[in-house]
Structures are given as C-alpha cells and as structure tokens.
Amino acid sequence: MQLFNLEAVSIITTFKVNIKIMGKHHLGEFEEIVMLTVAILHGEAYGVAIIEEMETRLNRSVSIGSLQTVLKRLETKGYLESEMGEATKMRGGKRKRYFKVTNLGKEVLRQSKDQRLGLWDAIPDLA
C-alpha cells in the first residue's frame, strides 16, 4: 500500500526551512556590550558569568530574560555560537551553554569600533 507520495512531503518541509536574509551589519548598543563581554570572558562565557561580568565592569544590572533574548538574536545572526558544557553538581546538575564570538562576529565588532573611531577622529579638536 502506498501511503504517501514524496512530493507532498517535500512541499511541506519547505515551509519549515527558515531563510533569513542578512541585512546591513549593524549592532545595537546592548548587543555590542554583550558581544564584547562574551569576548572578554573568552571561552568561559555562559549566562550568569556574562551577567556578573557586566555588573562588575559596567555596574549595569541585566536580567536573564533580556540577556537571553539578545544572545539568541546574535546567534541567529551568526555573530555568536554556542555549545553545551559538561554537567556539574552545581546548578541543579544542568549543563552550561558557553558562547563564543564567531569570525563574523569579530569582524562586525571590529567594524563597529572602526566606525566609532572614525567618528571620534572627525570631531574637530575641542580645545
């Protein structure tokens, strides 16, 4: 008995593919700070660590929710990547998700920095 034809299946799967078209490389202020913090932590960047780092360095309190949204967005854009760490006894036995800045991410950060510097340089000398 033929159950279903493959054509039908493939049509349905195309709905599931999620094509994101990259726009201009542009970082929001918070996004930039998050990426920089991830870069600072260098391999040790997971949720709580990022928050603590931002709190100590910038004296800025961040909720898990808002951080998570941004991390997710940056990952979708391809600026960050993540992998799960080993399980430990702490954290209720849950694994950490470590974030790393991708090459694309580094490029965007650098661009952003260059833009800022260019702007700073363009300011006529303030006496």
Partner: protein, 887 residues
Amino acid sequence: MSPDNDVRPSALFLRLFRWFCDPDIVEGLEGDLLERFEIRLHKKGQRKAKWLFIKDVAQLFRPGLIRFFKESQKRNSLGMYKNYFKTARRNLLKQKMYSSVKIGGFALGIAACLLIALYIKDELSYDQHYENNDRFYRIAQTVYYGNEFKMAWMPAPTAQALLADYPEVEMVGRITPTVIGGGNNQLRKAESPQNSNEDNFIYADPTILELFETPMLMGDHSALQEANTIVLSKSKADKFFPGENPIGQLMILNENASNPLKVTGVMDQPIHRSHFQYDFLVSLTAVEFYNGEQGNWGANNYPTYIRLSEKASPEALEAKLHEMATKYVLPLQQARGNVNAQEFVDKMKYELQPVADIHLYPEGISDPFEHGNIKFVWLFGAIAGLILLIAVVNFINLSTAKSTNRAMEVGLRKAIGSQKHDLIIQFLIESVMFSILSFVLGVLLTSLLLPYFNIMADKTLVLPLSEWWFVPGLALASLLIGTMAGIYPAFYLSSFKPIQVLKGSVSLGAKKSGLRGVLVVFQFTTSVALIIATLVVSRQMNYIMNTEIGFDKEQVVTLSGTNTLGDRVPALKNALLQLPGVENVTVSSYLPVAGTYRNGNLFWKDGRTQMDQGLGAEIWRVDYDYVSTLGIKLLEGRDFSTEMATDSSAIVVNQQMIKELGITDPIGKKITNSSDNSQVWTIVGVIENFHYESLKGEIEGLGIVLGNSNRTMSVKVNTDEIATVMASINDTWDKVAPEQPIAYDFLDERFARMYDDVSRTGNIFTSFAIFAVFVACLGLFALSVFMVEQRNKEISIRLVLGASMNHVLRSLGFNFLKPVLIALFIAMPIAWYVMRDWLNEFQYKTTLSWDIFAIAAITAIGIAVLTVSYQSLKAAVMKPVNGLRNE
C-alpha cells in the same frame, strides 16, 4: 557550594518555566536561573532570592523564548486551515445519514432550548421595567376568619391612611374590578343604543397611571383626575371610535345612563409585560359603591399600590404597618360588638411585596391576576438544559463513533508531520463548523415552531432578532458549544498512534463503548423521566375533568350580561323555559367556576357572635331553580320552595359549613352572618360539597340564600342537538333584548378553562418529551450503526459458522437494550419524586400508580427496539463475504 541545600526556588515557577520555555534553550537557562538563585541566596538571603527568582522567570516569558510562538511563527498554516475546511465539508457530504443525524439532532436540541429560553425570559420580564421599581410595592394583609386569609385585597380607606400616617409613603393608588369577583360588562357609546360585551375593566385611582408608568397615546397621567372619566386601550379606542378622536366622547357602562363616562385618555400598546393589563380604566374619583363604602375598614376590595419615598426602608415601614390595624380596624370590630376584637387585630399582619415579584412569587397572596410559577421557570430551564445536554452528548457520541473512518486520516496526517495539537485544532474547527450549521438550522426551526408554541403556552413570544445581543450571543454560544462538543472527540481522535492505525491493528471504539453506553443511559434517563411527567400531568388533567365535582357541568349554557336587562329578566327566563330542549333555567351571578361573583362573609351559630371567632364562608344569592339546574345533590332537608313564604330567611348550606360550625342535626338550626344578629338564617337543607373553586384548594363553607343577583342566566339543556337549541335561545334573546348582543358560554368549557394552566403544562411537557425522545432516538440510531459497523467481522464470522438470523439479532439487540434498562431504573425514582411534589399542589389529585411507570418503560423499550432493529436486521441478513473480504 550552597551552604544550605534545603532552600529551593519556587517549584511551581520552575515548572512553569520548563513548560513555556523553548526546549532548545531550556537546559542552559534553567542552570543559569538556579546558579543565580544560589548566588543570591548567599548574598541577599532566602526571601529576597526566592522573590528575585520568580521575577527572573517572569522576565523570561517573552516572545523569543516561548516555545509556542516559535512554531507558529515559523509555519504558514493558512493552507492547512483551508484543508481542514475542505476535509470537513467532504466528510459531511460523504456520510449524509450520519451528518444529518448529527446536525439535525443538534439543531432540534437548540430549537427546543431557544423556545424555552424565550419562554423563561418572558416570564422573568414581568414588571421589571418601572423606573421606580426599587420603591414600588403593593400591600398585602393576612386576616383570620376562622382560617388564615392572605390577600392583596385591602379596605378602601387603607390608601388614604397610608398616605396620611406614614411620611415614607410617597404615592398610593388603588384598583378594584368594576364587578367585584369578575364578570362581563356592557359598554356603549352614549349616542348609540347598541351594547358591546366587554371584560378587562377596572376602577382605578388617578395615581395608578403614574405609578404603573402607563404609556399614553392620548391624554396624560392625570387623565383619571376627574370623576366619571374612562381611559381606553388603543385597540378598544379603535374599536369604539374608528376614525374619530375618542377624547371627550361619552360612554355608558352597564346602562347606567345617568353617569356617562368621558374618555380622557388612550393607552398605548404596552411594550413591557405587566401583571396589570386592562383595556378599560374607570376613574375612582368620587366613586362610592354604597353608602359609607369608601370609609369601610371591614370590606376588602382594593388591591393597593405604594410608591415609597427615595430614602424609605420598606422593612422599617412594614414593621410599623400594624399600627393601622390598631388605629382603624380595632374600633370598628369593637363597635360591631366583637368581644374577640383585640385578638382579631393582634392576629392581623401587613406586608409589602415588591411589584416586580407579583407575577412569579404569588406567595399565597390572593389577588385578581394571573400568575406565573417560579418553580416551572426553574423546571423548564432544567429541561432546556437537559435537552441541550442530550444534543451535545449525541454530538460527541457521533463524532467519536465515526472515528474508524477518521483513524486512517489521523494516522496519515501524523505520518507527514501533523502535531497532536494541529489535529486537535482540525477537529475543533470541524466541530465548530457543524455547530454553527446546527445553530442556523435551529434558529430557522425555532421561527417555524414559535407560532405553535405560542398557542400552546398562551404567550406572544417573538425571536428577538433585532436585539443587539441576540445574533452575537448565538454566535458566541455556537462557538462555545462547538468547542465543548468537539473537545472530547478532538483529543480522542488526535491521540491515535499512527503506526498502529496505518497497520490496521487498532480496534477502535469497541473498548470505549462503555463510555458511549453511559451517554445513552443519560439520554434515556431524561426521556423516560419526561415521558412519566407527561403521563402524570395528563392523568391529573383527566382526573380534574372526570372527577365527581358535585354538580352537573354538562349541557349548561351560561348567558352573561343579563343584569342590564333589568325588568326583562323574568320574561327572558320564562321565554327560555318554553323552548323545546331546555330543561331548566336559573338566574344567579354566582356560579361554581372561576370568574363569577364571590361573597366572603363571617358565619356564626345564632347567638354566639360575641363568643366565637367567625367562620369565613361564602354566601351566594340564587333563585329557586339553582340547585336543580346545576344538578347539586341535596342530602338532607329540602330545596327552596315558592310555596314557603318564610324561605326569604332560609339558607341551604354545604356539608363543610355544618362541619366547620360544628352543627349536628342541622335542619331548623339558625346561623347568622351579621355580628349584630340583624340577619338570622334558618337551615332548611344540606347539599353535598361541590367544587366551586379550583381543585387545587379545599372546598370551603358555602350557604345559598334566595336573592336577586342577575348577572348570569344558566340554561340546562337536555338534548344532543345543541346547535338547534342554541339557535332558538339566540332568537329568544334577540326578541327580548334586541339592543344587546347575546354573550353565551358553556359551563363545562368555563370549568375546563380554570385548568388551562394544567393543560398548558401538560402540552409543554408532551412536546418536550417528544423532543427529548426524538433526540435520544437519533443518538441510539447512530450508535447502532456504529456498533454494527464495529462488529461487522464478528457477525460475518458468526454467520459463516452457522449462526441463525435470530441469534445475531438477539446478540445485537441485548447490547442496545442494556443501557435503556439501566436508564429506566435511574429515571423512575427521579420522576416519581418530582411528580409527587407537583401533585401535592392539588388537594384533589390522581395517584402515582405503577401502570404509569409500566407504560413509560414499555414505550421507551419499544422505541429503542424500533430504532435499532433496522440496523440489526441489516446486519443479520448481510452476506458474510462482504464483511470478511478484506482479510
């Protein structure tokens, strides 16, 4: 690390988080949450850490992180929804029988429910519309005349006393029927001699129009201020003054030409329901029915309405009302020489009843209005709910029963990626679609049935299509019920395992028939209970119509309005007696049916007026032929006789009167109905108790005396050719009274009309029982189709192995009968209990005998057998090969 492992964050919120969070990221996030909690526990203490944990979870509840959003955002479901509608439509058309049973049954249920809802809404709407409803009351009193009498009838001066003595009373108004105790009136335009026979008259205080906020077409609320004025309803104004301006016209009531009534107002058709519905309001200004009547605290003839001032408390006023009895009634009783005056007054009670409650909560207060019954409103509401429930149950039943056919579809859809909740949505959409279809059909059906229902229930209901809430309300209900009805099938069907279904190894439904059986039991319970209720009500109606009521109501023609003939009454009587076929004629306004004269009095044994509390009993004025014309049975003594000159002070009493007065050997004993002994009656005869009021109440004491009361003439006929006799009676009337149309009626019909409410109840029960049985049968029928389909292979094998048709029929039949039998056992005690309660409203009633239950049982079983036999037979005679060819 944690110093204190026992402290944990809120488990509830943790679970909530796990539930809503996107599964891809849940693990890392949960770890973060817990780690933060531990850090905070360390730094900030328990309470703060716990609180901040909850805050963290709440902040995680955002679109990017919630799992549900993720999926629906990614997929374009529009195509699927289109597909759901298409599949639903195809399913509907593919199985026409099934679909029509499903939708038709539901539509019937909805129609029944709508009808009842309209009925209930109408009953509840009485007297709810007055602007000052919260301070609009009527006064009722309880008086002891041997027995307790609770009534809205008040002494004429009560209104003035209330207004003068109680500052919280803002406005009072009284009404009184033009003919106390009822009856017709003759009305004509002043310039025309032609009388018209009208009822629905009332005398009213000028304030009544304002109190009841009567909508006026012409004139205003002061229309009744002047004496001798009359206000007409629109229909009556059109009838008497077609194309003329009625204002200022003169009318003559009951040939009282010396006091013509001036028309000063026309009432608009009432928009709202009210217990107070009259066609003619005659002003009470300067009216006195007899000398001293308006100041008489001893006669109770006026229902009295009160509007309280804004701040007044009805409870506080009620508590003070008894002063009225002491101030006015006590002196009167003492003046009459009642030694028990103080006791009499002490026992009197006054109460205020909100006008809004009058229709549905009569509370035993005797008044001249028709009432509804709050119990019936509840009962019908329950029935409507039950019928709707049955229909919904059917709907569910049929949807799951069809699952065999849908199982493949479910398996396939799952195999190509449908999630469980997609399927749930699919089946819910299907169910809502059917529900909307059913609602549309149901409303159509209601509008078709409404005229018949109106006749049956004596109502003027309309579908409130133009009301803003009606269509959206129905739409909402159809969505809601569609969803409710669809939930079970949706979850049931969507839970099939694709592999099993596609392999064909799931035997659907058979295991689940237990639940379906329960649903059928439930349906038949309702149906059987309604059948029993119908039978009991019709038995009671039968009982009322055929019981020995103590007088002969058959073949008696009553001619009303004879009072306006004056001196010509004896001539008419004699002329009628000459007619062939007329056996006897009597003239008396008092008849043993509702709506004729009544005259409540106090009776004592002669010489004991000062010692005894009076007995409340009726005294009727009749002529010599009363007892014989009405076929009342004389037990002792004699009837009135023209040969006995002393009969002007003779009285014939019923058994109850003797019993309550405690008289033994009554003939020749003397009794009186006047506290000053001015009128003493000698008992000359005792008649058998006869029912002169509704069978709901006890027969009370009655004495008949000779007197002139000529409102009605009753003619006893002794032939089967009623038409011929009626024609000759008509001719005779026209010869004697050409200016007045004859108004006749038959005593047995007037008697039957007293029980219109009972027969209405019976009719309503009958039709609802039919509804319920029909809907339940549809359910059973569909179930039988399903069962036969399920057991197709089994039956085929049985047939192959040589089972006879009988055998198959029996094995199928019993399966269906079992739930019906169980239903019988549940329904009978319930019906017995409820109907016993209903019958207790009647003093005279039929018994709840076993055969009622037997008939109901046989009917239910018979209907069930008929319903399933078609499918069973079809199964039993089929070719086994058809059932087995796929193996």
